[in-house]
Assembly symmetry: C2
Homo-oligomer: 290 residues x 2
């Protein structure tokens, strides 16, 4: 039995997310990971060396017999339902695209509207479309514009360039792919109408993952044997477990998140819930080890 | 006769724009100007001292007999019409508003769309409205979102806060005021629908200015006496002349801008056009001095 933590699970600075576990299972070479340039211009390899974490173990690493991950839900479902343990049966597919739109910077007072080629107008229209599309496709589809950067970003200047990100997720790969295609089609038509250019770059793309039925059952029965209430649910967030699922039977255990908050300084899970989750993990691992 | 230049005409770092001339004519005290905090957190007074430009002359300053300003058009009108000298008869009113929208930062994967309070969605919808409003009101109305800042600005995080600016301009004060009201009304309804809070701050607000008819005529006749073609036109940009117009008869002379580009490194005016403009300014000043 071993306890594992993987570097750069979040991916907000260095994309893709779940980078460490992706390298561990052989989905990305350590060299490519080290060469990854972050949003601040630094590289993963140089930063790992700087903090003393640049290891030398060969990758991909040994495939374990099974992998079980305990995590906070990071969403409001368990708390709203009054449930203590989430029995995670899979992970939503994730699509991250960075869009850079390039127009014609100009004076905000003297440039008539008809002569503008404003990348900001395309960016905001695409932002609205992402929201409308997620609503139209319905739960569990989500769509988020989390990054938006105007350049030169001045009150009286039509921007020259806008960089933004689109985060799309769904448990259904076909729906997710269709959502990606519709975002790109809308971007193309908006850019053509405004007379601006654009580029897109995939920051991360992972298909939905279905966990191992036997371990899912084991998580459920271990929780119930402890008198804990359970709910089967997919994960909306990406997790290292979905990478390990490529090489061994895998599942996850969720504990409730207060007010569903995550990626937020107010993120909180009650100590009792953390302890309950840890005990379920222990029992599942002991059962798998026997 | 005197040549004058005024500090911080642009206002992109320290709002409002035309700050130096506004102080000169008594529209703002030197103390208030010095205390102005810029987008980088510095103050006008500290920065003037740092670069050795913190003067001690009393303000408001002496009102001149007349003020005439030579400037590049910063727009495409003269070049498109093949005209050498713009006889500027007034300046568009300018309205700059900073909007800060505060929502609930959260995880982009686990937060269902129905539970989101996303300030980014309000910001992009307001951005679209500014463009649509300017088109609907028609020339010479312009509307620009030049600044847009998401926080924490990460691909997989629903933003907590967005700050953006709205720049509105028109030669008609009544239309400009109505445009401002409609932007604020739309902001209120968008924020209510998304369940987010917001604040607005006026960064600059100047009513349209009409220049002195006698000096306008003088600019036109001086240009024509030199064999230069002329066009009467308003200025879409703000200029120090509109501040001086509060205390003395004032007008402006425009020279063509290549491709109408301004607030852009490619801004350019042909040397022949610059010389023609300078000669018109000289003749106008000589006529006024006699």
């Amino acid at each position: 039995m071993a306890v594992a933590f993987f570097s750069n699970e979040e991916g907000a600075r260095f994309a893709p997310d779940m980078m460490g576990s992706l390298v561990y299972v052989g989905g990305l070479s350590a060299e490519e990971a080290h060469d990854t340039v972050g949003i601040d211009g630094s590289t993963v390899g140089a930063e790992l060396e700087r903090i003393g974490y640049l290891g030398s173990a060969p990758t991909p690493g040994l495939a374990p017999t099974a992998f079980v991950e305990l995590h906070i839900e990071q969403g409001p479902v368990l708390e709203e339902a009054g449930i203590q343990i989430g029995v995670v049966d899979g992970v939503q597919g994730i699509s991250w695209t960075e869009v850079t739109i390039v127009g014609q910077s100009n004076h905000a007072g003297t440039t008539p509207m008809r002569l503008r080629r404003d990348p900001g107008v395309v960016a905001v229209a695409l932002g609205i479309f992402v929201r409308e599309l997620a609503i139209e496709l319905g739960h569990p589809q989500v769509g988020t514009v989390g990054r938006m950067e105007f350049s030169p970003n001045l009150v009286n200047v039509v921007p020259a360039r806008v960089t933004m990100t689109v985060d799309l997720r769904n448990t259904d790969e076909e729906v997710l792919r269709s959502a990606e295609e519709r975002v790109l089609a809308r971007l193309a038509s908006l850019a053509a109408a405004e007379g601006v250019g654009y580029e897109t770059r995939t920051l991360a793309r992972f298909e939905p993952v279905i966990f191992d039925p036997a371990i899912i059952d084991l998580v459920e029965s271990a929780a119930q044997a402890q008198g804990l209430s359970t709910l089967r649910m997919p994960s909306g967030a990406g997790h290292d477990a979905q990478m390990l699922a490529r090489v061994c039977p895998t599942a996850m255990i969720f504990t409730p998140s207060h007010r569903g908050l995550s990626h937020n300084p107010a993120e909180h899970t009650d100590p009792d819930d953390l302890e309950a989750g840890a005990n379920v993990l222990l029992d599942v691992l002991l059962a798998l080890a026997r």
